[in-house]
């Protein structure tokens, strides 16, 4: 670890100047089970995205045509850098498109 900055180097009042800098800290190691989205089962209801406390589910403008031929404009993807594996997404998914599988590191 590099040396910590002294008080003279810190901004006045120790103000944090970079908004949202917590992204540097990855919380992936908290996870025991990891969620996996089945893109063909997913109906794009947005519920998993809504209830993710991190947020570690991202909404992408990525078109997708499911195996049954349904065309979607968006996709939901798990951000495995931050997902803590709480499992709310899998619990709340109305079509059971999210499976919690064992994390192998």
């Amino acid at each position: 670890m590099s040396a910590l900055p002294g008080w003279r180097e810190l901004p006045r009042g120790a103000v944090i100047l970079e908004p949202g800098s917590s992204v540097r800290y990855k919380t992936a190691s908290w996870r025991v089970l990891k969620p996996v989205i089945d893109q063909d089962k997913c109906v794009r209801c947005r519920i998993c995205w809504t209830y993710c406390p991190e947020p570690a589910i991202v909404e992408l403008d990525q078109p997708y045509t499911s195996r049954s031929g349904k065309a979607y404009k968006v996709m939901y993807a798990i951000d495995y850098d931050y997902c803590k594996g709480c499992g709310i997404c899998a619990e709340e998914c109305p079509v059971k498109a999210i499976a919690m599988v064992e994390e192998v590191r």
């Binding site: 120790a14 944090i16 970079e18 908004p19 949202g20 800098s21 917590s22 992204v23 540097r24 800290y25 990855k26 919380t27 908290w30 209801c45 947005r46 519920i47 809504t50 209830y51 406390p53 991190e54 947020p55 570690a56 909404e59 951000d79 850098d81 931050y82 803590k84 594996g85 709480c86 499992g87 709310i88 899998a90 619990e91 709340e92």
Partner: protein
Amino acid sequence: MSAFTIASIPREELLAPGHRMCQGCGAAIVMRHLLKALGKDIIIAHATGCVEVTTSLYPETAWRVPWIHVAFENAAAVASGIEAAVKALKRKGLMNPEKKVKVVAIGGDGGTVDIGLQALSGMLERGHNVLYVLYDNEAYMNTGIQRSGATPLYAWTTTTPAGKVWRGEWRRKKDIVGIVRAHGIPYVATVNFAYISDFYVKLRKASEIEGPTFIHAYAPCVPGWRYEPHLTVKIAKLAVQTGIWVNYEIDRGSFRVTTPVPKRLPVEEYLKTQGRFAHLMKEEVELIQKLVDEDVDYINKLAGSVVVGPVERK
């Protein structure tokens, strides 16, 4: 204006990931949607509490809006000062007078119903244009689950243990909304994120009204309430379905229940999901049911009709 639905939630994230709130934290869901509902033009004064310590580990922050950490007791006082400063800057021409900035104070239940109560009362009395949001996880969670004034009857905490003599918390939850309402402020509401559209509508209403407004938000706590992290939203929903939590608003004096519950579930359905109530005997569950029935009767009386219905046993 069309009705707010889950599709109306803005995509932009103003709470960054990488914060250290627990797996499945209810307060994290509250904060994420609070920011999405209010947008970027806000200044937050945040009392010490779970969310404050887990989102601002120096030298990093999870907030993407102006945010100031304040002590446990003075979130409302600091928010009052910021609001006065914004007014002064506008008056002196140092800030665009057209620019709308909403000052928001956030506190947990300890920082609001116990330690910050006098600062909150002062802010409401002086009539500052501030939105106060209380996220209620029903005890002092980050210091190790000590009871607060918002801990419900018979809940186990580390300072109200459950054994033969003590049966968990022996006092009832403090009616903070009643206390706030008594100040005669324009808008008071309770929100539960399991009913997400209602959550957004109320937060936006509260931020648009000029003058002090207050939001009481339900925030389940995984380690403090003793349940598996994936159940957070299930438990939040059960709180409303059993009548333990009622979503209502008091908008300039008029009372309205925003989530009617035609048939209530027995409180047992809610209590059995959480380890903090695992020690309860039949008589204690019955007493909680009786007290919830009384609260619901009072709500229905205020509403003028039966909006929260009777208990239906399966």
